[in-house]
């Protein structure tokens, strides 16, 4: 067995140009930089409207060295389906060189994926297109100014779930996008996190080696939306894993593999207290979140068939 990848093993070549307008400390910027390193060069990227799209393609500049297409908010998966179908038929009809392996990746935020793009995503997954869909999840509509989405976690403050006398932040639980993808019997799903870049690199590379529809769910800390200092992005991303708020895993043909085991978990309070969006939470609400995380950890351990994520340390 080969040794585990380290950050030094990742390609030096940059495929995501600097000079874009993303925020300092943006989790999605780190994600895009390293996703593009892992993609084969002959990969076409189809992007949904969102933070990454508006900040990386301000005409006449672009950060993208791959062929790149943006159509609208809710249809990255549909647009990518069209690109993939075109490549397939053009190759068959001899209009593209037969040896040329052109691959397709769709990228969207949580709003463009969990909510407005869910129908197009479902269609893409169900039809079996050879496309990797990557959702960078910053847990709200950040591009329009922090409105809640179907990916906003319980308790989070957003501008449309404000904290007032009656409301106390988001009162519903986050949608299970991996579960939705799995319901389409896709060959590969994975979660990635910008604090674990070799893991991210390995998963994107593996996804690109598998034929058929794939989904990668990427944890994407957001400085203005989550209310923290830009320097804390990686600290928060790491703390999410250490508390079990986020679990790095992959499911390949139904087999689950937790890629970042956590023998002893930290209490979720450690993750929540780093972010202004959770500052209003009561002990009771924090206990509720802890309970949700315990449930998810138990579920993942059950699928793994062993305790890969341990108990909360005392």
């Amino acid at each position: 067995m080969s040794r585990a990848l380290t950050i030094r093993d990742l390609p030096r070549e940059e495929r995501f140009a600097p000079g874009h307008r993303m925020c300092q400390g943006c989790g999605a910027a780190i994600l895009m930089r390293h996703i593009t390193k892992a993609l084969p060069k002959d990969t076409i990227i189809v992007q949904a409207t969102g933070c990454v799209e508006v900040t990386t393609t301000l005409y006449p500049e672009t950060s993208w060295m791959n062929p790149w297409l943006h159509i609208a908010f809710e249809n990255a998966a549909a647009g990518a389906s069209g690109v993939e179908a075109a490549i397939k038929v053009l190759k068959k009809k001899g209009q593209l060189p037969p040896g040329k392996e052109v691959r397709v990746v769709a990228i969207g935020g949580d709003g463009g994926t969990f909510d407005i793009g869910i129908q197009a995503l479902s269609g893409m997954l169900e039809r079996g297109h050879d496309i990797l869909y990557i959702v960078y999840d910053n847990e709200a509509y950040m591009n329009t100014g922090i409105q809640r989405s179907g990916a906003t976690p319980f308790g989070a403050w957003t501008t449309t779930t404000p904290v007032g006398k009656v409301w106390h932040g988001e009162w519903r639980r986050k949608k299970d996008i991996i579960g939705i993808a799995l319901a389409h019997r896709v060959p590969y799903v994975a979660t990635v996190n910008p604090a674990y870049l070799p893991d991210l690199y390995a998963k994107v590379s593996k996804a690109m080696s598998i034929k058929g529809p794939k989904l990668i769910h990427a944890f994407s800390p957001c400085v203005p939306g989550w209310r923290y200092e830009p320097a804390l992005t990686i600290t928060i991303a790491k703390m999410a894993v250490q508390t079990g708020m986020w679990i790095n895993y992959e499911i390949e043909n139904g087999v689950l593999n937790v890629t970042t085991p956590v023998p002893k978990r930290k209490p979720v309070r450690e993750y929540l207290k780093l972010q202004g969006r959770f500052r209003h939470l009561t002990d009771e609400e924090i206990n509720t979140i802890q309970k949700f995380v315990d449930e998810q950890v138990a579920y993942i351990n059950k699928l793994a068939g062993k305790e890969v994520i341990g108990p909360v340390e005392a």
Partner: protein, 395 residues
């Protein structure tokens, strides 16, 4: 010359799509369009057409996938009707602004509510501001030919705009007429597959669909406007060559009737045929009346409209769509009034709204329209009705 076969309007369209050797078809079922895509699926299933069919989950995705496929360099086709067309509305603007030569058939149908699967022009008119070149056929042969014309115009390097070709739901889509088929070889020699637009090529990567801020957005729109204008010249060249090759001549507008008319009805789609028949059989050749068919709706062929309507006393415009609250609730009437006013033509106009939701526009209705025109032709404009005349409705 191809062979002559009896075909429904939808089959006629499907045969043309096959002859155009499209690469990607992306469509969603909706009445009365569905049988176009069914026929195309049959062609692919039988190996008669080598294309990818994307069985999308909505019309919104149908056009989104068409945009993706076109951006990847494929010749693409889609078709829809009614609610499906207006579900595509958002992406129709994007397809034209990204300058992608997609061809779509609109099997024209009324819009809900009440839900109604029958023919009028509500869907066609609802998307007439989306930057697409738009044509409407009068008969099935024309619907067949329009598809081939559409690819030629759309993919012209001076145009690069999507083209919508329309035919009336049921009255044409499900009605059988003899069709002189354009064979693949002839279609591809008339509308050859050329890579005239920027595509997503890994060897020459481009960013398509960038953010255009106030520094640039306006210039994009200005260029798009020029492309639409240019499409008119390309249309004229294309129909000229089409006539030479296939022996059928189409015009952006087509006039039928008296050489020096006092009254003219302006109409679109299959109703034009009804009006022609009325003029020939009922009204008689000696009456000073005619019908002007608008085939090309975008770009609106103002010059030809002026040419035919100059000197006419009164023009009746038959609209099969209704825009409540508009200064001119008939959208075609609105275009005609703007054209006449802009070019200083003082023909009076009268707006007729008729045949909504599949109600036939009969010779009786057409008779009422011509009678109204004759009755009002010598009245001063100030005495003309200011509201549309609804023909064939229970008041």
């Amino acid at each position: 010359m191809g062979k002559i076969v009896p075909l429904s309007g939808n089959s006629a369209v499907a045969y043309a799509v096959k002859s155009a050797d499209v690469d990607v078809i992306s469509a969603y079922p909706i009445t009365p369009q569905t049988t176009i895509v069914e026929k195309l699926a049959e062609f692919i299933a039988n190996g008669e057409l080598d294309a990818e069919m994307i069985h999308v989950e909505s019309e919104h995705s149908a056009l989104s996938a068409a945009v993706g496929a076109s951006a990847a360099g494929a010749r693409v086709y889609t078709a829809s009707s009614s609610q499906g067309i207006v579900l595509m509305y958002e992406i129709m603007f994007i397809a034209s602004s990204l300058r992608l030569p997609i061809v779509m058939t609109i099997a024209a149908r009324a819009l809900s509510a009440p839900i109604n699967i029958w023919n009028d022009h509500s869907d066609f008119m609802a998307v007439s501001d989306t930057g697409w070149v738009m044509m409407m056929a009068e008969n099935n042969q024309e619907a067949h030919d329009d598809v081939i014309l559409a690819y030629r115009i759309a993919e012209d390097p001076e145009v690069l705009l999507p083209v919508a070709t329309a035919l009336d739901g049921y009255f044409m889509t499900h009605t059988i007429e003899p069709i002189d088929l354009i064979e693949r070889e002839d279609a591809l020699s008339f509308a050859p597959k050329r890579k005239t637009w920027f595509t997503l090529d890994p060897d020459k990567p481009v960013t398509i669909g960038a953010l255009g801020d106030p520094q640039w957005y306006f210039e994009f729109k200005r260029q798009q406007y020029e492309a639409m204008k240019k499409s008119r010249e390309v249309f004229e060249k294309s129909v000229d060559e089409f006539a030479k090759v296939f022996g059928r001549r189409y015009g952006a507008v087509e006039y039928f009737g008296d050489e020096n008319p006092e009254v003219v009805l302006v109409a679109m789609g299959h109703v034009v045929g009804n009006i022609k028949a009325y003029l020939s059989r009922v009204r008689g050749k000696d009456s000073r009346a005619g019908v002007l068919k608008i085939k090309l709706y975008r770009p609106f062929p103002e010059d030809l409209i002026v040419k035919y309507l100059e000197g006419v006393k009164i023009v009746g415009v038959v609209d099969r769509a209704l825009v409540p609250g508009s200064a001119s609730p008939g959208p075609l009437h609105s275009e005609i009034v703007a054209t006449l006013r802009k070019h200083g033509v003082d023909a009076k106009t009268l707006s007729f709204v008729s045949g909504l939701g599949g109600r036939p526009v009969t010779h009786e209705h057409i008779g009422v329209m011509f009678s109204k025109l004759s009755e009002l032709k010598d009245k001063p404009a100030s005495e003309l009705p200011k509201e549309p005349l609804f023909i064939g409705v229970r008041e």
